[in-house]
């Protein structure tokens, strides 16, 4: 029983981080209808930049974080402008492929700059685990969860109350109408890429802090696809809830099925869940059901 509770708590904490990365996907998808498959590479890049700022420039953590977030903002903006803008109105396969291509480029560049060796993140959070009484949360996951919650709340507040947030929601709702109301749809596209990049970069720093960083960290980004499909591609709340559910399910499969299959089930479980959701309810728990008419 103890181990079960422990696994569920770990799963919840990991799920919070998944939720944050999923938020990155959703922010971009909601406004621009593009699924950014290079998200994992954004994440890794963020972790590497933060890592370099901490180690090479020996900056304090908050400065490194601000620098990383700023660079992520610029990165999202530039990528939208250079790569995604020319493809507006192109078939969906082109848009998906271009993000895949982007991911491959980023991965290769990171390989060149930082070499493929595995690195431990310097300690940026106090290492004491949190004792809940009935179970213990490791420090990395705990702080990850806290970051995820803060990130989500900030994004939700921006969406709800700020002018930009309202413009973004309007664009997501109806581009034509938003345009005619004087909203710069192009600006919103660029901004949502920047926001998406920021969300994933925070996720990257948190995960890098837990597992250490390497070029191959980005594969987690693909696992998060299960989260957003479960939650619904265009639902922020769904992303968070989906993250928690997938986090728990993943850790439970790890607990019960790893002995049967000799390891590795934890990595592949989200994809099984993904296929099942796609078969039963492709638009996810909270996603908008698209009715197609000829």
């Amino acid at each position: 029983m103890d181990i079960l509770v422990q696994v569920i708590v770990t799963g919840l904490a990991a799920g919070g981080v998944y939720g944050l990365i999923a938020l990155g996907f959703v922010l971009i998808y909601k406004a621009t209808s593009v699924l950014n498959l290079a998200m994992g590479e954004f994440m890794t890049l963020g972790a590497f930049i933060c890592f370099t700022a901490l180690m090479q420039l020996s900056a304090p953590f908050y400065l490194a974080l601000i620098l990383t977030l700023f660079l992520a903002f610029v990165l999202g903006f530039v990528i939208e402008r250079l790569i995604l803008r020319p493809l507006i109105g192109e078939p969906i396969i082109s848009v998906i492929m271009v993000t895949i291509g982007l991911g491959v480029i980023l991965k290769g560049l990171m390989y060149m700059i930082w070499t493929p060796s595995f690195r431990n993140f310097p300690e940026i959070f106090p290492p004491e685990p949190l004792d809940l009484g009935f179970s213990v949360v490791p420090s990395g996951l705990l702080w990850g969860f806290i970051f995820a919650v803060i990130g989500t709340i900030v994004f939700l507040l921006i969406f709800k109350f700020s002018r930009t947030g309202v413009a973004m929601r309007a664009t997501a709702n109806d581009q034509q109408a938003a345009l005619s109301m004087g909203i710069s749809v192009k600006g919103v596209f660029a901004l949502s890429w920047s926001f998406g990049a920021i969300a994933s970069v925070i996720g990257g720093i948190v995960i890098g802090n837990i597992t250490g960083i390497s070029v191959y960290m980005g594969d987690i980004g693909l696992k998060v696809l299960a989260v957003i499909i479960l939650g619904g591609l265009d639902s922020i709340g769904g992303a968070i809830l989906g993250g928690l559910i997938i986090g728990i399910l993943e850790n439970l499969t790890g607990l019960y099925l790893d002995p049967v299959f000799v390891g590795g089930t934890k990595e592949v479980a989200p994809f099984f869940i993904l296929v099942i959701i796609l078969m039963i309810r492709p638009y996810g728990l909270f996603g908008k059901e698209i009715i197609e008419r000829v």
Binding site: L35, I83, P86, L87, E90, P91, I92, I93, S94, I96, M97, V98, I100, G101, L102, G103, V104, I105, L106, K107, G108, L109, Y111, M112, L222, L225, A226, I229, L233, F261, V262, G264, E267, V268, F271, F272, L274, V275, L278, M279, P282, E292, R293, V294
Partner: protein
């Protein structure tokens, strides 16, 4: 269109070899392909074999993605299924290579159909994610079904033979590869001008409209998956029999991306494009290897940079072609052809 080249009926318009000119050059090219193994060295033959397998696989993916519009990120998984089927049949059940080939194709086609079933409900983005999931699930199976696939140690395969002739070197295998490439290209070229090929294109352009004009979506979408995966299975079986070993490492997600890159760079919805793409994308890594050898001699210590360079260049090619030349090399080829055909009066 060439001057004085008028089509008087539809059958003429649908001919594969449109003019004597085309026939002449194709025969010349074919003769070159037959002479090639006698003049080429081992390395060139090795590359030629690799190009052959890539062409078969790329045509399969192009039929599925380029013609039918069903994006697949799991092509490497189907290639893997074919490869493992062939390897297991040969080593466990003592099948000959030749007999294992159709089974490799069929089992891969079956896997393709299973993955394709969701395509009836989901499309575009969602289908892309489903095939991505399939890729990871199959990779998991390759590693963990140890009684069959021997896990990460892999399976060693004896070379194929007919009677006492053994196909173990690059030169001997070249004939097998050439045979299947010609067969595969010929079949695909005929398929796309048949009823089924037209149905594929109709589904790509607008699947709901296609269904309304009487195309059975269920049948044709699954056919596309089956045929595409069949090609993949054959490509995989040929590939691993050439390498004589199969391990799960042969079929990573990157291979799927590589195949997608081939058909995008070559040209979506074009058989010729698949061939161009396969040749181009196989030659680039070889060229990079060559460059890294040169760098190793003149500036030792710097050759490391070429390992990730492959990925960067692949990614760049995908992005640049999508933005600047979405119809790929096939379109560039057409443009060059019409330049010479119309010269000097290009209007």
């Amino acid at each position: 269109m060439r001057c004085g080249d008028f089509k008087e009926d539809y059958i003429k318009d649908e001919e594969i070899f449109q003019s004597y000119f085309v026939k002449f050059w194709l025969i010349l090219f074919f003769i070159f392909l037959i002479i090639f193994p006698f003049i080429a060295n081992h390395y060139m033959l090795y590359v030629a074999n690799m190009i052959g397998f890539a062409i078969v696989g790329a045509i399969g993916l192009n039929l599925l993605t380029g013609f039918t519009g069903q994006i697949s990120l799991g092509h490497a998984a189907f290639i893997g299924v074919g490869a493992y089927t062939s390897a297991i049949l040969i080593t466990h059940l003592g099948f000959s290579f030749w007999l294992s080939l159709p089974f490799a194709g069929l089992i891969a086609a079956l896997a393709g159909i299973i993955i394709g079933i969701p395509s009836l409900r989901i499309k575009g983005l969602y289908l892309c994610i489903a095939t991505l999931a399939a890729q990871f699930i199959f990779e998991f199976i390759f590693v963990h079904w140890e009684s069959m696939t021997k896990g990460i140690t892999g399976i060693h395969i004896p070379p194929p033979r007919i009677g006492s002739i053994e196909f173990s070197t690059e030169k001997e295998f070249y004939w097998i590869a050439l045979f299947f490439v010609v067969l595969g290209v010929g079949y695909a070229r005929n398929l796309i001008r048949s009823k089924m090929g037209r149905a594929f294109v109709a589904i790509r352009d607008r699947d709901l409209a296609a269904e309304i004009i009487g195309i059975n979506l269920f049948r044709y979408k699954l056919s596309a998956f089956a045929i595409g995966s069949f090609y993949a299975g054959i490509a995989g079986a040929l590939w691993v029999n050439f390498l004589k070993v199969v391990t799960p490492d042969h079929f990573p997600l990157f291979l799927s991306i590589q195949y997608l890159a081939m058909i995008i760079v070559g040209g979506l919805g074009s058989i010729l494009g698949s061939i161009f793409g396969a040749i181009f994308m196989t030659l680039i890594p070889e060229l990079l290897n060559y460059l890294s050898e040169i760098v190793k001699i003149y500036a030792p210590g710097n050759e490391e940079i070429f390992v990730p360079m492959k990925e960067v260049i692949f990614g760049l090619l995908i992005v640049l072609f999508l933005i600047f030349e979405p119809l790929g090399l096939a379109e560039i080829w057409n443009r060059i052809k019409s330049f010479f055909r119309l010269w000097p009066f290009s209007y």
